[in-house]
């Protein structure tokens, strides 16, 4: 297999990486046993499968793919919506399901100068504009749940999977924005120049994914 045929896949570290490699194994892609989510390496190669993985921050996955240093990527739809990169969105892998929601204190009622804290300013801005609501969006990088408690914002926009984090902070979900799962994305040129290998991997994954969901 020539070097040109190796596919580089950018993946977020942690849970998504674990689930995605599990999916690849189910699809019959031979991955070495030491390819696992608790690896501390930044690159992992699976020569037998002709794959190599870049382990990066989730929000950076579409960047690596858009610039072509990775041919493919696995990334949450939340990141794709927020980053708006020019990549192919090939397949819904159905892993790491969660949703994007508006949350606030249980007794929340409309305020005069609404403020929304979020790690996803683009998604929040677009959502409230589409609702015809005028809000100020405040970008935070973490601990978003704190914002309504201390009066920085009256609501937040964030990812909800089990709802436990919201509950623990005394918040409640107010509006459902959109469902989120991880997607397989591809670089525009790789999609063309390595189409055979990408198509092959796509079909293997698609057959595993389709089995898991009612068609």
């Amino acid at each position: 297999m020539s070097a040109f045929d190796t596919l580089t896949i950018a993946m977020p570290k942690g849970r998504i990486f674990g689930e995605a490699t599990e999916l690849l194994r189910q699809a019959g892609v031979p991955l070495p046993a030491d390819v696992s989510e608790d690896s501390r390496k930044l690159t992992v190669s699976a020569p037998e499968a002709g794959l190599s993985f870049l382990l990066v921050k989730p929000v950076d996955v579409p960047t690596y793919v858009e610039h072509g240093v990775a041919d493919l990527g696995v990334v949450g739809k939340d990141v794709l919506l927020e980053e708006a990169r020019d990549v192919y969105e090939l397949l819904d892998l159905g892993i790491s399901p969660c949703h994007m929601a508006v949350a606030g204190l249980p007794d929340w009622s409309p305020v005069l100068h609404p403020k929304v804290a979020t790690k996803y300013p683009r998604i929040a801005d677009r959502y409230f504009r589409e609702q015809g609501q005028q809000v100020e969006v405040i970008k935070l990088n973490g601990s978003v749940e704190l914002a309504p408690l201390i009066g920085l914002a009256d609501r937040i926009v964030d990812i909800v999977s089990t709802g436990r984090t919201l509950k623990e902070n005394g918040l409640t979900e107010l509006e459902h924005i959109t469902d989120i799962t991880s997607r397989l994305i591809a670089n525009r040129a790789s999609y063309r120049l390595k189409s055979g290998r990408i198509q092959d991997l796509y079909e293997k994954l698609a057959s595993v994914v389709e089995k898991g969901e009612p068609v």
Binding site: H67, G68, L90, R192, S195
Partner: protein, 394 residues
Amino acid sequence: MAKPREFEKPTGVRDFPPRVAEKKRAVEERVRVCFERWGYREVITPTLEYFETVGGASAIEEHKLFKLLDRDGQTLVLRPDQTAPIARVVASMLREEPLPLRLYYHANVFRAQENEAGRNAEFYQSGVELVGDASPEADAEVVALAMEALQACEIEPLQIVVGHIGLLDGLLSERLTDRSQAALLKESLGQRNFVAYRNQVRRFQLPKEDEENLLSLLRIRGNREQLTVLRDLAHTGRTREAVSHLEAMWDALEDMGAAGHVVLDLSLVGSLDYYTGIYFEGYGSAKGAYLVSGGRYDRLLEQFDRPTPATGFGLKTDRLMEASPSFDREGERIALAYSPKAREEAFREARRLREAGQAVFLYRFKEGETAVPAAMRKSFDRVLEVKEDGHVRI
């Protein structure tokens, strides 16, 4: 905003140092030779155009245009592409010229970019427009010429992907009575979001066969054989005509010996309300981006009151400069160092070398100096010295 430092430039514009400028010139020269060999002639249009005319007709969205006002308060734009200005020229200055017209350009175009800093707002394109020819041969010609231009820049591997907007439109509307559904699907294809496309198709609750047909459009990728698949999907006259046009174009490409790197993909769409027939993109070794895009735009010229079919493409010169290998320079760069007393001999030698096609850089030895400084030697292929006796030494 803070006052800019003296070396700063506006966001998105670049200086080209000599080595980059040389590469740009070399790429443009190679593609120019291709264009001229196919009978295309250069046109040059102004950097400024009216927003009302060229700005509105352009395929580039309004929010990406650089706008300014002239003395009369008219809104002007820095040209966002070169196709609309050429359409204006064809409909005005060249109105009486017999068709078809074959025109080419090298031009800088301007587009406001969002994402991160460092993306170009001014970039270079070289391309052709073939105006007044609706035939499959005309489409084959521009595809073949685009490929030849990429090959002239030693792009390898190379692939040209061809879609067809009119055919896609036809296949969608044969299965969807609601125009807004077709628009949604085309938008998803334009965003290269196949997940959304599939979800939308399933949500429409169509008859099983129609649903399967629409989903299969994502899979129709490959060589000529895919055209037979398309023929089976096409039900109405207009759609069948589009398939026939593609088949005839493919035949013409084969007769040109240029079908080798061409791939059909109906999910490939360009700017949606601009292209009417084939749309194509060319990919090469560049990381991540396409090097050329083009297609048929039969409705543009009517906006300039000369309804005429047209087809063409634009090469992304900046990406081509990056993707192509470094080209050998013709002739050598020679430093010719001389002692003041041997100046006449040195100048005679320099002229002789220049006439032989070499680039000669003159260097006068300073008082007591006997050799060219090492730091300077590095930038030349050869260093010649003409000492006081008038002899040339290497």
